[in-house]
Amino acid sequence: MSLEPLVSLRGIAKRYATGTLAVRGIDLDIAQGEVLALLGPSGCGKSTLLRMVAGLSEATAGRIDWPSGQPSARDIGFVFQEPTLMPWATALANVALPLELGGMGRREAAERAAAMLARVDLKGFENAYPRALSGGMRMRVSIARALVTRPRLLLMDEPFAALDEITRFRLNNDLLELWEAERFTVVFVTHSVFESVYLARRIAVMAPRPGRIHAELAVEAGYPRGEEFRTSAGYAAHCREVSQALGAAMAGAAA
């Protein structure tokens, strides 16, 4: 982690037109290839922060720097809490969308999209419409779409929050597997302590009103992580530590 960061945020603040100060004084470095979790209670500005990193929303103060060069449209993948698929398009067309918007020819885009669908274990579902897929499968389509441009940075906003626990665990493992292979940088928003510990190498615990980073914790467990990590003593200890930090962040906010 001694390399220069992929993105660095300095003194970021966001005040919405309604007057709400969503986040304030955010300093955060995101290292190349790391998996960072943003953990915090509802309303603490996690989505706001993620959208600013993606360039979907302007910060009202502070700077966002990309030392290795401004990202292009293909450098960032975004996964929303809902699968956010186009219901009128097949799984394949949904995944091919980012490539086609970027000007790639139909055939090549379709080939790459099909390959990406296979990577998320959806081979055979290319021509299925979203409504014919289960919630977990739709989420995998959404992840495939985010990864199809081979982005340097994958931003995920509570991607698995709406799924049942079994599916969520499976997709956690799938995500780690994909990360092993591609080594993209991941920023992962969640309000689950367990999920953040299982996935992340580093956890930024946020406090609400106004949103800020209360603590940064490292999860000292190597990759690859698998189901055995969930039952390990280290996992339990980390979960306890992160819970305490989250508790302190919320107590600090209440005071």
């Binding site: 959208r51 993606a54 360039g55 979907l56 449209a73 293909r74 960032i76 975004f78 929303f80 809902e82 956010t84 186009m86 219901p87 009128w88 398009a89 969308l97 980012p98 918007l101 970027g102 274990d121 081979k123 055979g124 579902f125 299925a128 419409y129 979203p130 409504r131 014919a132 441009t149 499976r170």
Partner: protein, 288 residues
């Protein structure tokens, strides 16, 4: 490994097709089809019985059999009139659909255009067509064109307003996604806003189909009193003057049948375009 097997099973399950019910209709489907038919036959039978047992003369109320006979005998004149009315209705609908769509897209692209034109669309909509039809028929020399304009005025608004709502109903996350990938205005319109608006547009089209027919008929009535039209409404008027009541009813039957046919055709179109992805076009059991 077990995950792979599990996923293969998932794929197989999705591929299995449930058995087709007889003639492609479920019990619910048969009920939907047969219940209205039975009611219709009962009413027609009762009507015929009443006319016969009470000896009601055909110039007061003809029975269904007499009407059907007239329909067959006068098919030559009636079908020619039907074609005239149908042509005006469909043309009006076509113009209303394309103009409504284009205008709605313009509205979605430019707030100024929307703000300056929408009130006039509303005025057009709320002005009773019976009141302005005579003016239009006087102003426009060509009868067909004047009828077309009347039918168009009535059919236009539902398409415009529905499509406008549809174009503005885009999922904001999808909009963000398009923005993230640097989509052009054109790409957003073509790939996101128009598909989103499609079910709304089709719903508007179904309403407008019936309205275009009503507009055409009303305008024909107005024009017909001056003896300048030849559509179904004119036949109704003419038969009324000549006390050929069965023929009047026969023409009326054709008007209703045309309305029903237009509605069914547009419903079918909507179903074919939406069945794969939109809730409104799915079989009930398929919904989740």
């Amino acid at each position: 490994m077990s995950q792979v097997l599990e996923r293969r099973a998932e794929a197989l399950e999705a591929a299995a097709v449930p058995p087709r019910p007889p003639f492609g209709l479920t019990a619910e489907g048969w009920l939907r089809l047969l219940a209205p038919v039975v009611i219709g036959l009962l009413v027609l039978g009762g009507w015929e019985w009443l006319v016969r047992t009470r000896g009601i003369p055909p110039y007061v109320l003809p029975g269904p059999v007499a009407i059907a006979e007239t329909l067959v005998r006068d098919w030559g004149t009636l079908s020619a009139s039907l074609l005239v009315t149908l042509k005006i209705t469909l043309l009006a609908l076509l113009v209303a659909a394309s103009l409504g769509l284009v205008l709605a897209v313009l509205f979605a692209q430019s707030r100024i255009v929307e703000l300056s034109l929408f009130p006039y669309a509303v005025i057009l909509q709320v002005t009773p067509i019976v009141a302005i039809a005579p003016l239009i028929i006087i102003w426009v020399d060509d009868v067909t064109l004047s009828l077309l304009i009347c039918a168009w005025i009535v059919a236009f608004f539902p398409i415009l307003s529905n499509t406008t709502v549809g174009l503005n109903s885009t999922d904001h996350n999808l909009l963000d996604l398009f923005r993230l990938y640097g989509a052009s205005r054109w790409q957003v319109l073509w790939r996101l806003r128009l598909p989103t608006a499609m079910p709304f547009f089709l719903a508007g089209l179904r309403i407008s189909g019936g309205l275009a027919l009503i507009g055409a008929i009303v305008a024909e009535f107005v024009a017909g009193t001056g003896g300048r039209a030849s559509g179904l409404a004119y036949r109704i008027l003419e038969s009324g003057y000549q006390l050929q009541i069965p023929r009047m009813f026969a023409a009326l039957v054709l008007v209703s049948a045309t309305g029903i046919a237009i509605f069914l055709a547009l419903s079918l179109l909507s179903h074919l375009l939406l069945r794969r992805w939109h809730e409104s076009a799915m079989a009930r059991g398929d919904r989740r």
